[in-house]
Amino acid sequence: MVTIAAIIYEPGSTTKNKTGSWRTFRPIMDNKKCIKCENCYIFCPEGTIYEDENGDFKINYDYCKGCLICVNECPVNALTSIREEK
């Protein structure tokens, strides 16, 4: 059953689609090094870096596609990358 005119009534429902499986490389965050410049947060095309209750940035690997922009844009190398295990 499709909705009328294929209207989607559930906002943000792409979250059903775990794009984490796309990764070839995995970014790793070292919160100790992080200076909270917010670069990784704002530049992530997936919006999959979030601030947890402690004010630390975390990566939600369910969606991270492993583009490594965050790694590239971290001014203090708090982010690094490794090859994803398959």
Binding site: M1, V2, I4, A5, A6, I7, I8, Y9, P11
Partner: protein, 386 residues
């Protein structure tokens, strides 16, 4: 207060849009439609109608603007003709696919090339697959009534489809004749306010309209649409009855109108203003003792197959008059459609009145005489010059 005025078809349509309290109008001028939107612009300029009049830069944008407005949940109207309708083509499919109850006046006019501003119905006929309901009015009164009914039909929750009201360019658009103008309050009460449950762009309840219809869902949305327009037949009939009760006018059963069908061996089938001339000829011939029938198709889409079959069951000579030609089929579209449902009957097709060629009572008589001696499937062009 209800009153009678003597107005053109375009002005009757503008009055109907005003009575229907349209909220957003987006239209682009084109002959022979212009007086409709000019009249609406005047209403707005004089504060007689509190609507947003969007002076778009093309018909493509007119339809796009209507789509945007309708998808936000307001009552929307536009008017066009010919090249303008053709320029909207892509957007027509989108309006119906998005299930938006936009109402449009189309003033039938021939298509270029060569450019011709006069009447035929090629413009709207060629949009017959788009999922728009198409009503063809016979006179200015029906024009006004049909625009009002169009909103009622379009916005019906079982329909939710755009509706195109077609009137013959010049023949109706530029002819004044008496028209009963219903009471404004009464019309507004009848129609109510448009408050859609399915499509509205509202930050308080964010929905996504017009997404990618992947192969897993696309065909089902088309089937839905197909069922909605099929189902609209019942709604159109119902609205025709309701309207009759409230405003005392009805048009056949809403889908088709029969005229003198009883015992008519020869029946003409057509749409729009030419049906007046046909009735005129029928009346004349009746005086002379000859019985000819007319089946007027009022809604060409949804096509009233069942009514066509039923009402023509006793006819032996069916003459379909088309103000259009499906090039490469050597027939008009109505001729094809009628032939396809009248399987065991002689159906002939007459191409008439293209690009403003007048259709006279003599032409009608010629057709009647011809069909009686013709073979099934014949096509004849009427009133051609050498």
């Amino acid at each position: 207060m209800e009153k009678t005025d003597i107005v053109t078809g375009t002005i009757a349509a503008a009055m109907a849009a005003k009575l229907s309290n349209v909220e957003v109008i987006a239209a682009y001028p084109i002959t022979p439609q212009t007086h409709c939107v000019e009249t609406l612009a005047k209403y707005v300029a004089n504060g007689e109608l509190d609507a947003e009049f969007v002076k778009v830069e093309s018909e493509h944008s007119a339809m796009a603007t209507c789509i945007g407005a309708s998808a936000t949940g307001v009552r929307t109207f536009t008017a066009t003709a010919s090249q303008g309708l053709a320029l909207m083509h892509e957007m027509l499919y989108i309006a119906s696919g998005m299930r938006l109850p936009i109402v449009m006046l189309n003033t039938n006019r021939a298509l270029s090339a060569p450019i011709n501003i006069w009447c035929d119905q090629q413009d709207s006929i060629t949009e017959r697959d788009t999922g728009w309901i198409q009503i063809y009015a016979e006179d200015n009164q029906e024009t006004l009534d049909s625009v009002i009914q169009a909103f009622k039909i379009a916005e019906d929750e079982d329909v939710l489809l755009p509706v195109m009201v077609n009137i013959d360019g010049f023949i109706l658009t530029h002819t004044v004749e008496p028209v009963v103008i219903p009471d404004e309050e009464k019309v507004r009460e009848y129609l109510g306010v448009y408050e859609p449950k399915h499509a509205y762009l509202d930050p308080d309840k964010p929905i996504t309209q017009g997404p990618v219809g992947v192969p897993e869902c696309y065909m089902e949305t088309r089937k839905d649409l197909n069922d909605a327009i099929e189902g609209s037949k019942e709604v159109i009939k119902r609205v025709n009855e309701e309207y009759y009760k409230l405003f005392n006018r009805k048009y056949g059963n809403g889908l088709v109108e029969g005229y003198n069908l009883e015992n008519a061996d020869t029946v003409l089938v057509s749409m729009g203003s030419v049906c007046g001339t046909i009735k005129y000829v029928i009346n004349k011939l009746k005086e002379k003792g000859k019985n000819i029938g007319l089946l007027r198709i009022r809604t060409y889409r949804p096509f009233p197959k069942e009514d066509v079959v039923e009402m023509l069951k006793d006819a032996n000579n069916v003459a379909v008059l088309d103000k259009n030609i499906s090039l490469g089929f050597n027939m008009g579209a109505l001729g094809i459609d009628v032939s396809s449902v009248l399987k065991n009957k002689k159906v002939c097709n007459y191409i008439v009145g293209l690009g403003g060629r007048d259709i006279t009572p003599q032409n009608i008589e010629e057709i009647i005489n011809h069909v009686e001696g013709a073979k099934d499937g014949e096509t004849k062009w009427i009133n051609l010059r050498e």
